[in-house]
Amino acid sequence: MQRKKIVLPESEIPRQWYNIMADMPTPLEPPLHPGTGEPAGPDDLSPIFPMNLIEQEVSTKRWIDIPEEILEKYLIWRPTPLYRAYNLEKHLKTPARIYYKNEGVSPAGSHKPNTAIAQAYYNKEAGTRRITTETGAGQWGSALSMCCSFFGLECKVFMVKISYNQKPYRRLMMETWGATCTASPSTETQAGRSILEKNPDSPGSLGMAISEAVEAAVGDEYTKYSLGSVLNHVMLHQTINGLETQKQLEMAGDYPDVVIGCAGGGSNFAGNCLPFVRDKIHGKEIDIIGVEPSSCPTMSRGPFAYDFGDTVQMTPLMPMHTLGHDFVPAPIHAGGLRYHGMAPILSQLLLDKLIRAENINQLETFQAGITFARTEGFISAPECNHAVAMTIREALKAREEGKEKTILCNWSGHGLVDMAAYEAYLSGQLSDQPLPEEEITRALEAIAPLPKPRQYIG
């Protein structure tokens, strides 16, 4: 019988996270403070983050020890299994060997707790008593609630009121894990009260909820705020995924020719691929692909520049791949992938040609998700389907070329709470929205006069 799952023994769980900042050929330029235009420093973030996490955010130390207390909690679901996709390979009639790393087995159903656990622990160590965050549907709120409960921290989740009323089960999950979930806008913050004075029946928004969560942290020295994506320390914590995968592939006697992940805020793609980027920096030949929607091809089509957050160009932002500040992407259902710009760390790796980007239209991604579900069984989250679709493309290419290559796909989470998106696809209500060339040209003309980071060589 063939080995389907490559299961890393608990005793072999990685003991350190990998920090790509130590090995990046081109160091990152710091983000600019929107108020001063000067590089933002640790003190700017200290009102809402504990200093130990801020130190990780700016650290260039290559390996950072994972505290024993975090490892103990990781063991609830980690190491996650690496699967060999025999059924998909057979269906595609490909000579390629396809592996997928299943991050959907966590209690929250995705990779999110990899950093939620670490953030809860470091906050506890720093003397934080309560963590605040905001949530819409509740996936990040759920992950953080669970992890705060592990370390005896209060967790305060400001949940958008319309979601609070429509998603009682998510709220109950958070409360089951011990969090206090408050409908936003609330009377607990100045921001919330101000909104309610103007509109007592406000159904809330993510913008209001984050304002309340940040204010709650700023106003109390024992309260901090937590974010589940984009920042460097978040990606650092996620590297447990790629480090496990490397050990599992070694157990299988294999090594990837291609590494694939969906590229949204960056944390799931980075978490799996960064240890392989390190190998590439040291000479390995690997094709590392971040997959994004055709309707918003930030990495594969946009240049690297300082973009501005407003049309009067008063707010300098981080250097990143961008399609310009007046770009409005077309609709797709993979909400997590619809960011205007890519995380700076991934932008720089792209610029240094250590990773590359591909874009895929949404119909192809859902078709891939269906194929995956009918062969491997798992129903992917809509954004995860981008990685699955690229994996299928590469497998079919291997068939055409007659090559026995090894493909690694990061399967970042299940789609069991996203079935309405599948319903839309299955009932024929989705359509492809490729971005016309003239639309890209128009968007890029808007940022042509903007300053470019010194790394920009295009």
Binding site: L45, S163, Q190, S205, E215, I332, G341
Partner: protein, 97 residues
């Protein structure tokens, strides 16, 4: 998705809802129309243009400056928006003392 709206140039009836990619559940157009402190959510055009001529509708509904504020402004990266929110929250906290 529920019943498709009737062909017209205005928004669908209130019983028609689509999935919000930010919140992760079904919402009515009336929610998207006011999500941003009374102005539309910046994704309203993306999400609704398949269902009715939303751009045409909102260009009539909004002033030119509100249109500009809503749809010509990019979503900020998290770190930059966090720095702004910290600054605003500190100011609010000081004012309330």
């Amino acid at each position: 998705m529920q019943n498709k709206p009737k062909e017209n140039t205005g928004p669908p009836a209130e019983d028609f809802r689509i999935r919000c990619p930010r919140l992760g559940h079904q919402v009515r157009f009336s929610y998207c129309r006011q999500e941003n402190m009374g102005l539309p959510c910046f994704k309203t055009l993306d999400c609704w243009h398949l269902h009715f001529p939303v751009e045409q509708y909102l260009r009539q509904e909004l002033t030119a400056s509100d249109w500009e504020r809503t749809f010509s402004r990019a979503k900020q990266p998290k770190l930059s928006s966090l720095l702004e929110l910290i600054h605003k929250a500190q100011r609010r906290t000081q004012e309330s003392k």
